[in-house]
């Protein structure tokens, strides 16, 4: 998992409450054998005018010109500004996979659905909860300023606005540790790599037959 420390990125809006995971990535895309490649289908039903299907070339599909992610000013956005209860619905990990594949590393909202919130951390995405009034201020500032960026400083736990305002946020210490160091479960286990190697070398002496190579 990639590490998350400081991010200085363009902010894009998802200006509605209760965005569910079906909206984030519709069910027909879950048949995929891959964990990557969901980005072109992120918010599929809002982003395109036709019905999306796996394997359909998204570059040839008619875009919904009214959907903000299609606006030139939000291209390259890495931070998604959202409203209450973002990520509600199913537990599909495809939702954070799609956000991450699109290029988002951070979602700011007044509240998140539990499972989605957890899934974000497993996939290198930082979900930040800020007071609703503060989120509303950010929406106003973002709309007023093309190319609006926010600086997210995870070690310092602050969101810094272009005006220089520093907004503190809370994050669980352990999750912060994992994100800052880019550690997923595998990353954490690999911190014990020396212990695994030590175990393995003892095993090699005790049960050498477990380590014989077999040619297919």
């Amino acid at each position: 998992m990639k590490a998350f420390t400081v991010l200085d990125g363009i902010v894009a809006p998802m200006d509605r409450a209760n965005v569910d995971t079906d909206m984030i990535i519709p069910k027909q895309f879950l048949k995929s054998i891959k964990r990557s490649g969901f980005g072109p289908n992120l918010f599929d039903e809002l982003r395109y005018l036709d019905e999306g299907q796996p394997g359909k070339d998204c570059s040839k599909r008619p875009l919904n010109k009214d959907f903000p992610l299609n606006f030139p000013r939000y291209q390259g956005a890495e931070i998604l500004l959202a409203r209450e209860n973002f990520g509600c619905g199913s537990s599909r990990e495809h939702a954070p996979w799609a956000l991450e594949d699109y290029g988002f590393s951070c979602v700011i909202a007044p509240s998140f659905a539990d499972i989605f919130f957890n899934n974000c951390f497993k996939n290198g995405i930082l979900p930040i909860i800020l007071p609703a009034a503060k989120v509303a201020e950010l929406f106003t500032a973002m709309y007023a300023d093309e190319g609006y960026k926010l600086k997210i400083d995870l070690p310092a736990q602050t969101v810094i606005t272009p005006a220089g305002e520093s907004i503190p946020f809370e994050v669980d210490e352990f999750r912060k540790h994992c994100l800052v160091n880019g550690l997923d479960d595998i990353g954490l286990t690999l911190q014990d790599a020396d212990d695994i190697r030590a175990y393995e070398s003892k095993l090699m002496t005790k049960s050498p037959w477990l380590f014989r190579e077999h040619i297919a």
């Binding site: 990557s36 595998i186 212990d195 175990y199 393995e200 049960s207 190579e213 077999h214 297919a216």
Partner: protein, 503 residues
Amino acid sequence: MKNMNLCYLMWLRNIAALKITLLVRMAERDMAGQTLYDKLWAAHLVKERDDGTALLYIDRHLVHEVTSPQAFEGLRLAGRSPWRVTANLATPDHNVPTEAVERSGGVEAIADEVSRIQVRTLDENCNEFGITEFSINDVRQGIVHVVGPEQGATLPGMTVVCGDSHTATHGALGALAHGIGTSEVEHVLATQCLIQKKSKNMLVRVDGELGPGVTAKDVVLAIIGKIGTAGGTGYAIEFGGDVIRKLSMEGRMTICNMAIEGGARVGMVAVDDITLDYVNGRPFAPSAAEWDEAVKYWRTLHSDSDAVFDATVVLNGADILPQVTWGTSPEMVLPINGIVPSPTDYTDPAKRSGCERALEYMGLSAGQAITDIKLDRVFIGSCTNSRIEDLREAAAVVRGKKVAANVKEALVVPGSGLVKKQAEAEGLDKIFIEAGLLWREPGCSMCLAMNADKLGAGEHCASTSNRNFEGRQGFGGRTHLVSPAMAAAAAIAGHFVDVRDWI
């Protein structure tokens, strides 16, 4: 004075001796009293963590096409490679077609596109990461839980995992084996370890002897009927007792295979001569001096006589009759002479409504005799019952007889290419074909109907597989779980019969 001193010294010596005896006994108690599961767990413990979880080393990881693609993708995205590539062994099984014509064209001839992509992806991933794979038309290909033991790739004392809940099968060898999810598949690939919490110990003891015509499948269905589908939740089950000790390895695998249907992720059987005879000489098994060394260790893989289990369940082998499931959960099981229950037989409202729903789905009525259930299809196969002994058992029943007219299709799907070859060498294929059954290529087939082998809506199937859930073998399909002998007899009679009357 001298005597007094002597007495005192003697007394001191006696006290010391007593103390030593007590200490030795205490040490013995600490050292002894381990279950098979305790021993396997302790032998694979890399470290214990402060949060109560443990890092457990995995000796063998079996891989198939359905639960591995995202795990490999995860490795690629993170730039990781397998920790110990030779610990992995792959084979496609869930999606492979079993009809000879479609099968002969290999991966690219698989008609269903999604299946074809999954099987092809497994090939590509194994090539990319250097994992040994028995690909679709390799004679060693087959159901992953048949292939592992058959190759000696799963051995006594190993920890064995696979992205499939029927991985407990390998516990029959005296291994610690269980199913894992896709994220854990990736974790094992990358670290050769799993983050685990230890389960409790359960002993399921089957005493005495089985009657003629009663098989391992009937034993495990009777166990599930007794403990229920959640009875083993949180436990690692060791199967023991005289009945288990007398079973062949194939029979023990059938029993461990269905531990998960009893709620337990882990099922296992202690190592004995039957285990060692089975393992000896298999391609991946140790040989020569290493064999002797391995056997010395494997001989210790049994629960100590004073081991303490958190729960013990006892069945008497003589009481077990051939079993048939009537409902939509493996615990909805009856002996062949049973009568379909009525919702009013249950006081628990959840069980009562479960019975009502099951009767409706299965198209059965309360009070109906099990032997009155007519069959549309028969399936002999799956990781539960597709080994050579299972096929011999079924062939012995159908030899010289014909499939009943009301049975539209009776499939025999061997568990691996090598099982198929062996069966053909013994002429079993001819016996099946002459009786009107279809002889297929190896794979999971109709157990879960991911390939073209499925039930139609409303069709009743006598199946040697492991799950009778709604829609499991096809939309609207009605599955009855039975032993290979019972499935074979049902194919001939067109309805369930007591196979004991036929032998």
